[in-house]
């Protein structure tokens, strides 16, 4: 056991920190379009310097970074409070799926524009009737000379307005068992048969969208991983989404906790024993999240695949962020509940943390069944 960084890791961290410090554009502006353009510009800058898609192999334009380096980089981004890159879904999910399951032609076609943020990606998985039970989804894909016609509705899609491509899971075989009849497509969003409507959420903003497909066309060359293999490809996409969440989110939580501690001190509440206990719990929880992620990293490097333990990290993070924002509104009183204030936004936004990317209940099922080996209910 040795948690000190190797000379190479230290050099990587120094390089990343220096680059971010010199190039961090600061907080993104408000307003959907302004924010998007800002984040797209930021990603271009990252890409030019070789910091976009650092986990991707070098042959596909990435940096071939080790898992530790990836963790270090996301920690540095969180520490500097640098903005996220505009094409985050393409970088974290779309690209890795194309690299793992795509043909050479698909890699050639799709990868570079993801890195440069030239083509933005969105994700079409959830449907109004298929949330946690994703495999029950109903969006249909039917063969149509040399391609597919897709009809159905997707929901909770970020970046749908800006996206060129949608990672779309649709039912290509209605006869097959529900997990087996799905295929994974890359669907062009720039066609008339695709309609995007913003979905306003409890914070007042519209971070997500609904997408309506009415006989949208997908050519055969945009099918990923072969017909009927959509469930497997989708699961890998979701695992990748969860695997990286630990270290960066722990750093982000620490930053927010430090802000909250400052607030408590400013308001002269620092001696309140109940607040002190709750702050300590949050501090301990965020450290446990960080350390758990580092342990998982070591395991993944040994075994080669991320384990279902990523589900615990996502669950912990949701618990902690909700508890932290709740405590902040208590400390601030009515001021913390003023509409459009930063903490009120965080407080409301945190309610989605235990739903998005896998509800806490589904994560508990994954832990119970795949880690502890308990029998399935079904």
């Amino acid at each position: 056991m040795d948690l000190t960084l190797t000379a190479e890791e230290q050099a990587f961290q120094d390089e990343a920190r220096a680059w971010i410090e010199a190039n961090n554009p600061g907080p993104a502006p408000h307003g959907d379009l302004e924010r998007f353009n800002f984040e797209r510009e930021w990603q271009r800058k990252m890409h030019e310097a070789g910091w976009a898609g650092i986990s991707w192999p070098k042959e596909y334009g990435g940096r071939g970074a080790t898992l530790v380096e990836q963790a270090l980089f996301s920690e540095e981004i969180a520490r500097a409070r640098a903005p996220r890159p505009a094409n985050i879904l393409g970088l974290v999910m779309g690209g890795p799926v194309v690299i793992a399951h795509g043909t050479e032609e698909q890699k050639e076609r799709f990868l570079e524009p993801i890195l440069s943020a030239e083509e933005i990606w969105c994700q079409g998985f959830s449907e109004p009737e298929s949330g946690s039970d994703l495999a029950s989804l109903k969006t249909r894909a039917q063969r149509d000379n040399g391609g597919w016609r897709v009809s159905g509705q997707k929901v909770w899609t970020t970046f749908a307005h800006e996206a060129k491509w949608c990672m779309l899971v649709a039912r290509s075989d209605t006869e097959a068992p529900k997990h087996k009849g799905l295929s994974y497509f890359i669907c062009d969003m720039e066609q008339d048969s695709v309609e995007v409507r913003p979905l306003r959420q409890i914070t007042g903003e519209a971070e997500f969208n609904e997408i309506f497909f009415e006989d949208a066309y997908v050519p055969d060359e945009n099918l990923i991983g072969g017909e009927g293999n959509g469930w497997n490809v989708a699961i890998i996409t979701l695992m990748k989404e969860r695997a990286g969440i630990g270290t960066a989110s722990a750093v982000a939580l620490r930053r927010e906790l430090e802000q909250l501690i400052e607030l408590i001190a400013e308001r002269g509440l620092g001696d309140d024993p109940v607040l002190r206990q709750r702050i300590a719990e949050l501090r301990i929880g965020s450290e446990a999240l960080r350390l758990g992620a580092l342990r998982a990293l070591t395991d993944t490097m040994k075994t080669g695949t991320p384990g279902p333990e990523g589900s615990i990290a996502k669950w912990e993070w949701a618990d902690l962020n909700q508890a932290l924002t709740e405590l902040a509104t208590e400390v601030l009183g009515p001021e913390g509940l003023e509409r459009d204030s930063e903490w009120a936004y965080r407080f409301l936004r945190a309610r989605a943390n235990s739903i998005e990317g896998g509800t806490t209940e589904v994560l508990k099922n994954i832990v119970a069944e795949r880690v502890l080996g308990l029998p399935k209910l079904r």
């Binding site: 056991m1 040795d2 948690l3 000190t4 960084l5 190797t6 890791e9 530790v68 906790l257 430090e258 501690i261 400052e262 408590i264 001190a265 620092g270 001696d271 024993p273 002190r276 206990q277 702050i279 300590a280 719990e281 501090r283 301990i284 929880g285 450290e287 446990a288 350390l291 758990g292 580092l294 342990r295 990293l297 070591t298 395991d299 040994k302 333990e309 615990i312 669950w315 912990e316 209940e361 994560l363 508990k364 099922n365 832990v367 119970a368 069944e369 880690v371 502890l372 080996g373 308990l374 029998p375 399935k376 209910l377």
Partner: protein, 338 residues
Amino acid sequence: MNFGFDDTQQEIKSTAREFLADRFKPAKVRELAESEGYDDDLWKQICELGWPGIAISEEQGGQGLGMVELVILCEELGYACAPAPFLSNAIAGLILADAGSDEQRERWLGGIASGEGRAGVAATQPEPSLVLDAEGAAVLVLDDGDGAKLVEPGDATIDSLKLIDATRRYSHVSAGGGDSLPGGVEAAIDRAVVAVAAELVGVAQRAMEMAVDYAKEREQFGRPIGSYQAVSHQCARMLYDTEEARSLTYYAAWAADAEPETLPLAASMAKARASDAAWTVTATALQVHGGIGFTWEHDLQFWLKRAKVSGELLGEARLHRERVASLAGLGEPAGVPA
């Protein structure tokens, strides 16, 4: 960066797991708890393995390994709920090695390292101190008010204390005099805190495994109770709690030797989480077992009671959280009771 055990550490762990599974089967734990004693022969075997001196330097008769190795043993001993005077002797060794004079170390540390002249140790501050394993000890390490002191058992009044945990010997000890240790004990106490946290992680791990095994076997309404989410989600939570405590404890053990400046915060984070986790997990394990878990006949009681008592040794969760709050930026509070 490697947050896992190296080959030697892995070997220590698997040797300990096998040895303890063989020597301290639940029936043996029960036998020793009910007779309120230790097995001298088993202690001798533990000594032959070199465990008592694992974290004591080679020149002082130990194995010269570190806190990570000590924590591995403490976790496995907690997993087995093994009745043995290991923890008390190890803590006494940590304190004496750090704070003792050359002469004091020369006189006592060899016996502590070999286990042949083991020490009892005070687990709470005020006199009469709550002392672990005073009976049969060659020397006692007690609190001196602002440091530690050595007392020979013949010079102390030892009143055996029957706590709910019958797998370890506890007593109240009063001693007027004693031989003060010249050095500060804070760092050694923080190391001891991590050792107790490790024991609690082992206790939680075992209770979780008992609950999960039972939930797979026990059927009600025609199917295993572990297939009900009301049960399985509680088991998932046990893993969440145990793993958090484990991550914090392993980190604190590593920090004790590699980054001692971060130890105070790391030790208190580990102990706070481990105290809570061990209690919550053992109590939930009892709930998962239902009525059978509440019977004297069932072995779960030993882990549940150990969890509660060890959770309070060297400071309960509340006290360590208070320290975390101080160290995390809120500073020392005005007028908080010590």
